[in-house]
């Protein structure tokens, strides 16, 4: 340490600056890391049904966290509360059907997801809801802090770091 700081002063760089690591600012925690959001879109029981759907669609797998570990349902509830009304209706209607259909078991309730891919997407509102929810749970899981920390040791690409444009006046 001593030798290094001498080196830096010989190079004309103040040690304080040389040791300042721009990658590690003051440690902070985002609210999501320490607390739960309050449900805003679904009621508490509906949010649990929605989380169960998330579990079925995106369960944990081979060391990857699933939708529940990633608190994806809570996050999507927050997003849905601000979403356009057509999306809100799709999710409200879809969740009501899921609650009924899942009584007969998950495979029966999700059989619409075995339709082959088409660009236009599925035709019935419930099938549309399921495909939308599948993608939303998947992305909310991959973009979560739980995913980033679980995957950090596996691959650098998995940590989801991007170049963020700061607000412009």
């Amino acid at each position: 340490m001593q030798r290094r700081s001498i080196l830096y002063s010989l190079l004309g760089v103040a040690p304080a600056l040389a040791w300042q690591d721009p990658q590690s600012p003051l440690p902070t925690s985002a609210a999501e890391a320490v607390s739960m959001g309050l449900p805003k879109f679904f009621t508490v029981p509906d949010l649990e049904a929605f989380a169960a759907l998330g579990d079925a669609l995106i369960p944990p797998y081979d060391g990857r966290p699933g939708a529940r570990e990633a608190e994806a349902a809570d996050f999507l509830d927050f997003l849905l509360a601000q979403s356009p009304t057509d999306i809100q209706s799709l999710y409200r209607g879809g969740l009501a059907t899921w609650k009924l259909r899942s009584k007969a078991g998950v495979p029966a309730a999700l059989k619409e997801l075995s339709e082959p891919w088409s660009h236009a997407g599925p035709s019935t509102p419930y099938a549309k809801f399921l495909s939308a929810a599948k993608i939303a749970f998947y992305q909310a899981t991959l973009n979560s802090r739980q995913w980033a920390s679980a995957m950090a040791t596996r691959s650098r690409a998995a940590s989801g770091i991007g170049s963020y444009w700061m607000p412009i006046e």
């Binding site: 660009h119 802090r145 006046e169």
Partner: protein, 520 residues
């Protein structure tokens, strides 16, 4: 008394930047107004984990209903849709994608840099549709030659007449094995292929490649945050005299004077300024012949079977290329005229939407196909039509009280038939390469979304059917030029910016010459 400039340039993107670069070096005193602020893209961006963004990368819902390219990382870069509204008929949505910053859309462009050819400039001679440009490829070639080195365009010489070769940094990089297989299938099917042609460098923007040189001459005064409302005009002389503009932040109104005006505010914005000024429209075609290129994104998503299960040897996957137009060159298709091009790439991981599975089965499929994708996007020529039009919507104004545009453009049979052909051909080429087809479709994105909006202020020899002459100078007003994509008569399937740059260089030298001869 404030300075009276030689030239007022509106816009600082590809076209405005090129005009400033050219004119200031020829000694003209220029003032440039841009609606956006001056930012340093390096300082404006920071590295952040997606999980730390308030919306986990999804972005605030409803903030950018028409900018599918926007995500939470880039959201602050795009022009705000609430401050900058526009309208369209609900059955024909138009996705208008804008950036209002000094440097314009060149801060974010994909840099694909292709020349047009006489298949575009003389398209009517070839198949009878539409109009020829008032210039030919030979007129523009010397200007392309000078623009390419400025933007450090890399590419490979091919001798294809539909995408003439240029002054490239030669790209002789090796292709991966899956790309080689695909290229062989193309050769068998007599479909031409080449490397991408792209502007290179960390940033390839007007902001770093054009504006600094212009400022160094001491002849450029740059005014950011200056939203141009309309041009001022002297009836006695029949000349424009400058522009009225509004400060973006304070909303204070100003006027700046110049001997000549160059509009480079981007295709639709320059037309909007002219419509709001009620100028340069003796032909009645200002705002008409709006077109773009249709995009069918991931028209085919295939899998390279040998890459499944993470088993790809290092040399198998990666890289891509370009297929230039090959339809209707020497032969004639039955149900469409003109043609399309493809971008293709390998090594992507197909997303969960492609798999009819959920839960553990979905995870297995995703893991199995990770990095094994091969996909193509088709980009097709859109026919310019009189009825595709931008006009003023006087009921609606932007955040500065300026009337906005109502946009009307839709794709028709020629484009749909072309898109279907593009899907079928892409599928055949992939199958012939031994790839599995995971998904195919021919649904194009809405007009505008390709970010290649063109026309509405087109060139022509006849002042009754065009707004600009062959020098991008308005037929009606000698000291007024429009240099952005508005001038295009047709657009082929090539990305337009290299042509915008070459046209602007040519037009700016013409203006400088006119000023030297005291014609302006």
């Amino acid at each position: 008394m404030k300075t009276k400039y030689d030239v007022l340039i509106v816009g600082s993107g590809a076209s405005g930047g090129m005009a400033a670069h050219t004119l200031t070096r020829l000694g003209a005193k220029c003032v440039m107004l841009d609606a956006g602020p001056l930012i340093d893209p390096e300082k404006q961006r920071v590295l952040r984990p997606v999980a730390d963004l308030p919306y986990r990368g999804f972005g605030k819902p409803g903030r950018f209903p028409h900018v599918t390219q926007a995500n939470e990382f880039s959201a602050n870069m795009w022009a705000d849709e609430k401050q900058n509204p526009y309208s369209y008929d609900p059955e024909d949505p138009y996705y208008w994608v804008r950036i209002r910053l000094v440097g314009g859309k060149t801060l974010a462009w994909g840099r694909a840099s292709w020349r047009l050819s006489d298949y575009e400039f003389k398209g009517k001679d070839h198949d009878g549709y539409g109009d020829n440009w008032p210039i030919s490829y030979a007129d523009l070639a010397p200007f392309y030659d000078r623009v390419e080195p400025l933007f450090r365009v890399s590419g490979r010489m091919e001798g294809f007449p539909q995408i003439p070769d240029g002054n490239f940094l030669l790209d002789d990089s090796k292709d991966s094995e899956c790309v080689q297989r695909f290229l062989a299938s193309c050769r068998n099917a007599q479909v031409p292929t080449t490397k991408q042609r792209r502007s290179t460098g960390t940033l390839a923007s007007s902001l770093n490649l054009l504006l600094p040189t212009a400022i160094e001459t001491g002849n450029l005064t740059l005014v950011p945050n200056a939203v141009v409302r309309e041009l001022s005009y002297d009836r006695k002389t029949g000349r424009v005299t400058g522009a009225h503009f509004v400060d973006r932040i304070s909303k204070r109104e100003f006027h700046v004077e110049a001997k000549a005006v160059i509009l480079g505010a981007s295709t639709l914005e320059s037309t909007r300024i002219l419509l709001n000024s009620n100028l340069a429209n003796s032909s009645g075609v200002l705002g008409r012949y709006l077109f773009d290129q249709f995009y069918v994104k991931n028209i085919v998503q295939a899998i390279v079977p040998e890459a499944r299960g993470g088993k790809a040897p290092r040399t198998l996957m990666g890289g891509g290329g370009y297929i230039p137009r090959f339809r209707n060159l020497k032969t004639k298709e039955k149900n469409f005229i003109r043609g399309y091009a493809y971008d293709f790439g390998s090594g992507n991981s197909p997303g969960p939407q492609y798999f009819n599975a959920y839960g553990e089965e979905l995870w297995k499929k995703l893991a199995d196909t990770q990095g094994s994708g091969f996909n193509l996007t088709a980009m097709g020529e859109v026919l310019p039509r009189y009825d595709s039009v931008a006009h003023l919507n006087k009921q609606k104004t932007d955040a500065w009280g300026i009337p906005v545009l109502h946009l009307k453009q839709k794709y028709t049979a020629n484009e749909f038939n072309m898109a279907k052909d593009a899907m079928n051909t892409a599928e055949e080429l992939c199958r012939a390469s031994g790839f599995e087809i995971l998904a195919k479709h021919w649904e194009m994105v809405p007009p505008g979304e390709s970010i290649h909006e063109l026309g509405t202020c087109r060139m022509g020899n006849n002042p009754k059917t065009s707004v600009l002459n062959q020098w991008n100078q308005t037929h009606d007003i000698q000291n007024l030029y429009v240099v952005d994509g508005g001038a295009f008569v047709s657009g082929g399937s090539q990305n337009p910016t290299l042509t915008i740059l070459a046209l602007t260089l040519r037009a700016s030298e013409h203006l400088a010459e006119e000023m030297k001869q005291n014609k302006i």
